[in-house]
Each structure stands twice: as C-alpha cells, then as structure tokens.
Assembly symmetry: D2
Homo-oligomer: 340 residues x 4
C-alpha cells in the first residue's frame, strides 16, 4: 500500500442510503482520502449501521460548504432529481462530481425523458458527463469533471456482452437475452410494501420486464438495438448481489476456448474482471463485498448457444465500489486503491 503525502477531501451526499453507507464503509479503508458527510434535507433516517468508532465530519450539502472545504470529489448517492439539483453547483464550487443516480447516464434529455418519464433539469451537463465504466471509458474518466456512475444491472451486462459484440461473434439476428436477478438493496432504502420483509422473504418475482430503465444504458454502450436486447429484472430475497444469465447464439466461434479468449484479450489488464474456465460460472458469494465482476459461461458448440453468467455486488461494483474506482482514476490514485 502506498503512502500519500497529501490526502484528498471527499464528500458524500446520501450517506444514509445503502449505496452511500457502503461508500462510507469502503472509503474508510482508503488510505488517501478524508471523508465529509454532506447533510441534505431529503435525508432523515439513521444510517443503516454505525458509521464507525470515530465520528465523521458533517457539513451541509451546499455548494458553499463544498467550496469552503475544498472538496476534490463529491459523490451523489441520491435520487436522480436531487443529483440534477446539486451537481451544477458542486461543479461550480470546484469539485469533481461522481453521481450514482441515473441523472447523467443517458446521452440526451430526450432519452432521459423517455426512460425516466421526467424532464431533465440539468441537461446542459449531459454532453460533458462521462459514463463511468472504467473498463471501457478509462481515458475519458481521468480528466472528467462529471462522472455518471453506471447502473448496477448495466455494469454486469455491458461487461459480459460488449466484448462479444465488438468481436462480432454474436448472431444479432437471434437477439441477446439478459435474465437478471438482484438483491433487494438495489431498490433503495425508502420503505415500501414491495421491499417489506414479509413480501420479499421466501418469495421471488419479476418486474419491469422489457421496460426497465437500465435497458437504455445497455443499448447505449453495447450497440444493440432495442429489439435485439431483452431484459428481465427479478428480485432475489437477499440483501446484495446481482447475477445475470445471458443467452446468445454465436457466429464464427468454434469452441468454448475461442469465446474465452475474446474475454481474456479484452480484460487482460483489468483488475476487477475475473474470468472462469469454460463450463464454470460464478455465484454471488464469489463477489459479495468485493469490487469484482465475475464472468463465466457454458458453450454448446453444436448449436452455437452460449449461456453467460455475470455476477457482481450491486452495492460495490454496481455502485459504491465502482464510484471509488472512478474517483481513483479522477484523482490520480492507483485504480485499485482501497478496493482490494
């Protein structure tokens, strides 16, 4: 672990939510940052667990406070509408902004309106925002002021699908199907009947079939057309973790190792993507509480069918961990600092 002569002050809005609290937990292990909790009026509940022995500094979630403390980065673990409200002022105040909401992920206001069914109130920033998937946009993330941290589902989906699309081994006429399952923390911390214990426990259900807003992110970054990509979101009765089972038909692939070598080449130097031998697929335990996205597959050469399984922790690689990975890039720290 490196020694840092200078520590960067970083702020977190939304530290009472699951992603925000995870950010605090993870950043406390990061050797080069000082943590500021930014208190926003929309917060009220106690944090999901004690934030630690030493109390952290709390300041208001205002541009003035961001400026006064000279925050290098502010993480927004907030609803999209709060992110759109806060981001402009924080950027103005000199901080880089890493937004964990969906506010700045889509390319333009029209696409946002369609999938989020709402007007974008900070559309002037959409051109500038960089999609924070380091495995594909590292060079753009380094200098970016505004980083849109990817959605939890699209992170795993794009990591699993895009290398195969780029290598042109997917028979796109047959479509790509992503059957996704997520732990409940992905739905946020606001109480609702849908995430009440007795409704979720011992249960399993599908939702937003073919119309989940995360589909837009996959389309944008995988180059698939809307009719080529079928996505089902499903709720597993556990707290954290996403597993996606992806079905494709290949072309120009003779055997399993050919498929593997496409992934291997693409991810040879990626610290947070782990590949499995053909025939082996990850479970959630392999990735929970880590920033890894694990990918494995089973391939039937005779019929050219591939079933790919990608797993990640929705709160880490799917949210807080990837946000820190982006921060490391944006502040010039080693990309894995605090994450291994």
């Amino acid at each position: 672990m490196n020694n840092y002569s200078k520590r960067a002050p970083v702020g977190i809005v939304g530290f009472r939510g699951y992603s925000g609290a995870e950010l605090v937990q993870l950043l406390k292990r990061h050797p080069a940052v000082d943590i500021f909790l930014l208190e926003h009026r929309s917060d009220s509940e106690a944090p999901p667990r004690p934030l630690g022995a030493q109390p952290l500094i709390t300041i208001p979630a205002t541009a003035a406070a961001v400026k006064q403390e000279g925050l290098a980065v502010v993480f927004l673990a907030t609803p999209a509408e709060v992110s759109m409200e806060l981001a402009p002022g924080f950027l103005e105040a000199g901080a880089k902004v890493i937004d964990i909401s969906g506010a700045f992920r889509l390319s333009d206001a029209g696409t946002y309106r369609r999938w989020y069914n709402a007007e974008h109130s900070a559309a002037q920033l959409l051109d500038e925002a960089v999609y924070g998937l380091p495995e594909f946009y590292r060079e753009k993330i380094v200098p970016a002021r505004l980083i849109a941290n990817p959605g939890c589902y699209p992170t795993a989906a794009n990591l699993a699908i895009r290398p195969l699309i780029e290598a042109e081994v997917v028979d796109r006429t047959r479509g790509v199907i992503c059957d996704a399952k997520s732990g409940v923390s992905g739905a946020g911390r606001k109480p609702s009947l849908k995430t009440s214990f007795c409704e979720v426990a011992e249960n399993f259900s599908a939702y937003s079939i073919m119309e989940h807003r995360h589909v837009a992110e996959v389309l944008q970054h995988s180059c698939l057309g809307e009719r080529e990509f079928t996505f089902t979101a499903q709720l597993i009765p556990i707290s954290r973790g996403i597993l996606e089972t992806i079905y494709i038909r290949t072309q120009r692939v003779e055997k399993a190792v050919d498929l593997l070598s496409i992934y291997e080449e693409r991810y040879a130097n990626e610290p947070f993507v782990r590949l499995y031998a053909p025939g082996k697929t990850p479970d959630l335990r392999a990735v929970q509480h880590t920033n890894f996205c694990d990918i494995g597959f089973v391939y039937d050469a005779a019929s050219q069918r591939a079933v790919i399984v990608a797993a990640e922790d929705n709160l880490v690689k799917g949210a807080a961990g990837q946000a820190i990975q982006n921060m490391n890039l944006a502040l010039g720290f080693p990309e894995t600092e605090g994450l291994l």
Copy 2:
C-alpha cells in the same frame, strides 16, 4: 369431518393485512362458514396473495351491511383504534365480534391508557369482553358477544407459565423471565424502515425490553406481578413463528416428570397444546401453519432451574387460528373444525 345443514355467514375486516389474509385462507377450509370480506376505508393495498380461485363477496365494513347480511361473526383484523370504532355498531347489528387487535384485551380503560398510550374510545365494552384464550376461558367464550383474541406473545407465554403458577411450583421470588422471538409478520403489513427487507434480513435485534404492551396481558392472566415478570421481544429474520424461552426456578418439584405431569394434567383434553418429553423442546417448523402451541422444557433438578420453550405460529395460534377456535366455540361448532 361433519356435515353442516346450515352455514354461518362470517365477515372479515382487514383482510389485506397478514392476520386477516391468514383468516381468509383458513376459513376457506372451514366447512360451515360463508366468507364475506368487509371493505374498510383504511385499507388500500392489494392482499398479500391471491385470495383464491373463486372471488369472495365484498361488502362495506358498516353496521348496516353486517345487519343486512345477518353476519353471525365479524372478525376485526384491524388496528386497535379501528376495532374500537367498529365493534359497538357490529354488536348492535347482531353479530358476535372477535377482535384480533389489543382494543379489548385489558381489564379497564386505565390499564389500556397506560400500555397503549391512548384513550379507549369504547370503554363501555371492556367489562363485557371475554379474553379469548380457550384453554383457560372456554366457558366464558361460548356465550360471549365480544371476544378479545389474545396477543401473539401472551398466548404462548400464558400457556407455558400459568399452569406452573397455578400449581404453585414457581419460586416467584426469583422471577419469571420470558425471552421471546418473533417473525416479522407480527409487526403488521404497513411499510416501515423497521420491517424493510434489508434492515431485517441477516439481522437480529431486541426491542421494547421490559415495556412491550403485551406484558400487560401476561400479568393479567398469569397472576404475576410486574416486577416478577421480565419480557424481551426480539425480531427473527423470518416471516412467521414465535418461540419463547422461559426461565424459572421451581419449588416443590423433584424431577422433570413432575413438571411434565403438571402440564399433562392441565392440558389433557386440549386439542391445540402439544407437550414434549423432558429434555426435548419444539422448533418453529413444528408449529408453522398450524394452530398448535408446543411446549417442552429442560429441567436441572439439582439447581431447580427449568428452561421452558414454547412455540406457536404467530399468525395462527397467535392470531387467525385462535380466532377461528373462538368462533367455533361461539357458534357451537366442534372446537377444532377447520383447524386440523
């Protein structure tokens, strides 16, 4: 199973809650009742699961509707304040009322005020209300118009403790300790952070230590004084079931079988209390989805310590099942009808 020439029409208010929905499920197996769902303004959510193939009749939760349909019994699976509002009119309309809330369980308005921290709005009915624990009050239940179905925790506690108090084998100077654990459905169906999946899952916590309102019911029916009875409520990350671990010191008990024989005598003819051999104690699986309360214990003769374990399904013997047991008594059906 008997044949009934005449079926009794019975109504349920609060069928969208967990206890109410359980009532509907159980009553559908009862051969001698016709079910009416009584729609109350305080309801809004969809029921927790499909109510079945054949749609049930829904009528307003009003005294006029109760009278018009000639309901023999109305179950109130409602908050206490709604029960206090509805019970007088329904009794007036000629129905017997079985209330699953805490509204009519305590002996007087003052005791209610102290434990529920609210005024009683139907105190005139408290004298008439009968505590619906059949194992102890069967004769009073049969003719009663208003039956106060016991709380989930007190049902198991009273069944486990009272026979020993009556037999004068409890060393009351040492106190009685009840360490109680409940599944989450006991907290009702209204969404709250405390019963949100991610707060409860993989967790375990104590609440209302020494001040749970159910203590009042145990004191009232076990003859214990307030300082003699220590009660801790705790939340198990499961949907249903209550297990209570009870600690006493005995007097005048030589060996384990002496303790057992006290229970055996008391419960010889009770269809819903099952006793275990000394040294064996029930788990929740034994009682879930049944109307049984199972009781077992471990006894150390040398030190006169007894650890008693009582288990029940909080939604059945602790709520809907016991309510049907009371209905069977009140309407003259065999006590076990629809419950075995």
Copy 3:
C-alpha cells in the same frame, strides 16, 4: 366436500423426505384416504416436522405388506433406483404406483441411460408407465397402473410452453429459452455442502446449464428439439417454489390478447392452472403451499417477443400435490379433492 362411504388405503415410501412429508401433510386433509407409512431401509432421519397429533400406521415397504393391507395406491417418494426396485413388486401386489422419482418418466431405457447416467433396472415397465401431467394426459392417467409423476421443473415448463407449440405460434427457429429458479427443497433432504445453509443463504447460483436431466422431459412432451430448448437451473435461497422465465419469439400473433386466448382455450377447464392478464406475472407467494401453476406474460408486439413467467410450488404441483391429483384421477375421486 363429498362424503365417501369407503376410504382408500394409500401408502407412502420416503415420508421422511421433503416430498414424502408434504404428501403426508396434504393427504391428512384428504377426506377419502387412510394413510400408511411404508418404512424402507434407506430411511433414517426423523421426519422434517411432527407428522401430527394422531400417530399414523407404519408398515414395512414390502410387496407382502402392500398386499396384506390391500393398498390401493403406493406413492414412491424415493430416489430413482429405489423406485425401480420397489415398483414391480408393488404393482404385482395389486397397488397402483405413483412414482415421484425420475425412474419412469422417460420413454425408453436408452434415453434414461443418457440423462441419468445409469442403467434402468425395471425397463419392462417403461412402456406401461403414464406421464402424470393431468392437463395433457388425463385420459391415460385414469386407468394407469404406473404413473410417473412429472419433475418439478418440467411441470411448469410444459404447462407454459406446450400450448404455444401446439398452436404453432412459436418461431422455433429462434429457440425457446427457459431460465428456471428453484427453492432448495428441490434438491432433496440428504445433507450435502451444496445445500448447507451457509452455502445457500444470501447466495444465488446456476447449475447444470443446458444439461439438467429434466430437459429430457420437456423435450419429450413439448415436441421441441434439443437444440431448440435452452434450460438453466438456478438455486434461490428459499425453501420452496419454482419460477421459470421463458423467452420466445412468436409468429402469427398480433397482440397480447391473442397469446392469452391460446392459454385460455387450452386451460379453460383446468382447476390448477391460473392465468394472469397480459403484463402481469406471478410471484412465488401466489403459489406456495398450493397446487396451482400460475402463468403470466409480457408481450412486445412490435418485436414479437414474449416473456412468459410460470410459477408453482415445487413440493406441491411439482411433486406431492400433483401426485394426489393423479391419485384422485386413478381412484375415481374428484380431481381437486384435498387440494383446494
């Protein structure tokens, strides 16, 4: 509920397993049978929960005992190799046999060998065995001596897929994908690391991708070719329930209601198949502890994509409940007796 002048004596081998114990629970509510527990040497553990207040009669799992008691039906809730060993003698002894294992589900010994990787030791019975999926083989089940109760996964899969295949609205060149998820009881009760609590809890994993032995049953009854049907089995960290998400491309279907009407026609008189309005899909809670298979779907007319969700309780419609449904047919009782 009918009155039966004569009750049928029925036996259960394997009552200590999950399917067998479920059979006992369900049969105890059946008004027309007397239950015999058949004790087999391969059993040893205590049953998963108390079998009830009244002790049941236990006899040896031998042809002689079956004959002596004149059992009308024997249920085999046993591993396939035990079923192959016991079935011939029990048939000889005059009982009808309903086998819950995979022993008699496949059409011939070669197919069995391929998918079960073992020799069939009672192949002479394969021709006679009837596949016990009442919705498709009711007429054959009624007179059958040997009924092969369908596997848990294939029950839901065939009910969801076959009507569409028969109606020729599936574009088979695009394949049928079934992403299946099951509770852990489907793996049986024998302890193994794979079904240990700490390995399964908070986890989710895929297994037997494209090579699960249940695939053979779907192929056999859905008329799909092996390369047309892709099946993934996955383990949900819950005890019971199967949910299958099925992806097809249609042909000759204009809108969602056209798809629904195919199902409605096919299942108009089926008591245990429930259909949902287009856009609605079942969760597991809707079917747990019931003999229903619920089917819903979302349809995108523009791209002719249908995502179908089928849900059942693997221990009921997927095992014990369907076995009783078959028994009702074979013994001339109303098909729903004891199951609603």
Copy 4:
C-alpha cells in the same frame, strides 16, 4: 497505517472452513503478514469463496514445513482433535500457535473430559496455554507461545458479564441467565441435516440447553458457579452473528448510568468494545464483518433488573478477528492492525 520493514510469515490450517476462510480474508488486508495455507489431510472441499486474485502459497500442515518456512504464527482453524495433534509439533518447530478450537481453552484435562466427552491428547500444554481474550488477559497473551482463542459464545458473554461480577453489582443469589442466539456458521462447514438449508431456513430452535460446552469457558473466566449461570444456545436462520440477551438482578446500583460507568471504566481503552447509551441495545448489523463486541442494556431501577444485550460477529470477534487481535499482540504489531 504503519509501514512494516519486515513482514511476518503466518500459516493457516483449516482454511476451507468458515473461520479459516475468514482468517484468510482478513489477513489479506493486514499490511505486515505473508499468508501460507497449510494443507491438512482432513480437508477436502473447495473453500467457501474464491481466495482472491493472487494465488496464495500452499504447503503441507507439517512441523517440517512450518520450520522450513520459519512461520512466526500458525492459526489452527481445525477440530479440537486435530489441534491437539498439530500444536505440539508446530510449537516445537518454533511457531507460536493460535488455536481456534476448544482444545486448549479449559484449565485441565479433567474439565476437558467432562465437557468435551473425550480424552485430551496434548494435556501437557494446558498449563502453558493462555486464554486469548485480550480485554482480560493482554499481558499474558503478549509472551505466550500457545494461545487458546475463546469460543464465540463465551467471548460476548464474558465481555458483558465479567465487569459486573468484578464490580460486585450482580446479585449472584438470583443467578445470571444468558439467552444466546447464533448464526449457522458457528456450527462449522461439515454438511449435516441440522445445518441443511431447508431445516434451518424460516426456523428457529434451541439446543444444548444448560449443557453447551461453552458454558465451561464462561464459568472459568466469570467466576460464576455452575448453578449460578444458565445458558441457552439457539440457532438464528442467518449465516453470521451472535446476540446474547443476559438477565441479572443488581445490587448496589442506583440507576442506569451507574451500570454504564462500570462498563465505561473497564473498557475505556479497549478498541473493540463499544458501549451504548442506557436503553439502547445493539443489533447484529452493527457488528457483522467487524471485530467489535457491542454492549447495551435496559435497566429498571425499581426492581433492580438489568437486561444486557451483547452482539458480535461469531466469525470475527468470535473467531478469526480475535485470533488476529491475539496475533498482533503476540507479534508486537498494533493491536488493531488489519482489523479496523
């Protein structure tokens, strides 16, 4: 975080079990150790999760290998009989041994025989072994060669009870009751019906009432007599965490803050004991994945009853974390290194 000029080589036997795997995970974050996996013939299963990106060095679990690598510490995350077999040779080979089993926790061979129902095969080491509860035996741990890491239940029990015994505020004539609940990982990783998913999930049960072998450790270190301490172990359907609800009657305590101040004085400088304000008690989420033991209580001054709740992660403060705390002491590292 300090920089260490020299890293200590440490070994782990039993890295495929839950405690051993947790040790590996935690030690990978420790800046001053190099990890060696010691392969023992009794191991066979794959580890519970990937051990990380970089493969770790594996050597045989023999004294020769320990000597050759010059291991400073060997952790034994093994059954007691394996620990008794390995410890003597590893000490001989120059390593300090930190044993996570119960082999060296009790004071003499007779006590071991009584509670473990087996002969001790390395009794010559019992005098030398130091009980590794740093909060009470820090000075002895620093120079010790053989450290007996405390049991999971006794760690929380002793931390919660002993300060009050020492302060003489417990009315010992009334006894001390500890109602303990544990996640399933405490039972180890060997498959058994008792820890199978479908037996544990949605269930709750008590076991070893008044006769759990961990009682011996509490008696030994709390100064309570056997008849003064009543202990019930119970299984929560979760993977990790212990919560103990402890009931005492006090003497010489006027109000809640007096009780708190006893704890505060005792634990003023303890980095891993957190105290709660009177009336607040910890839940498991507060301590999971941490090395903290959290203690809170509710006090009723009128009746002198105190209900104390202590919570810890059985795999961390109750096993692997405390073992590292002991290692830090024994090797001269800061006590909290790698644990905050």
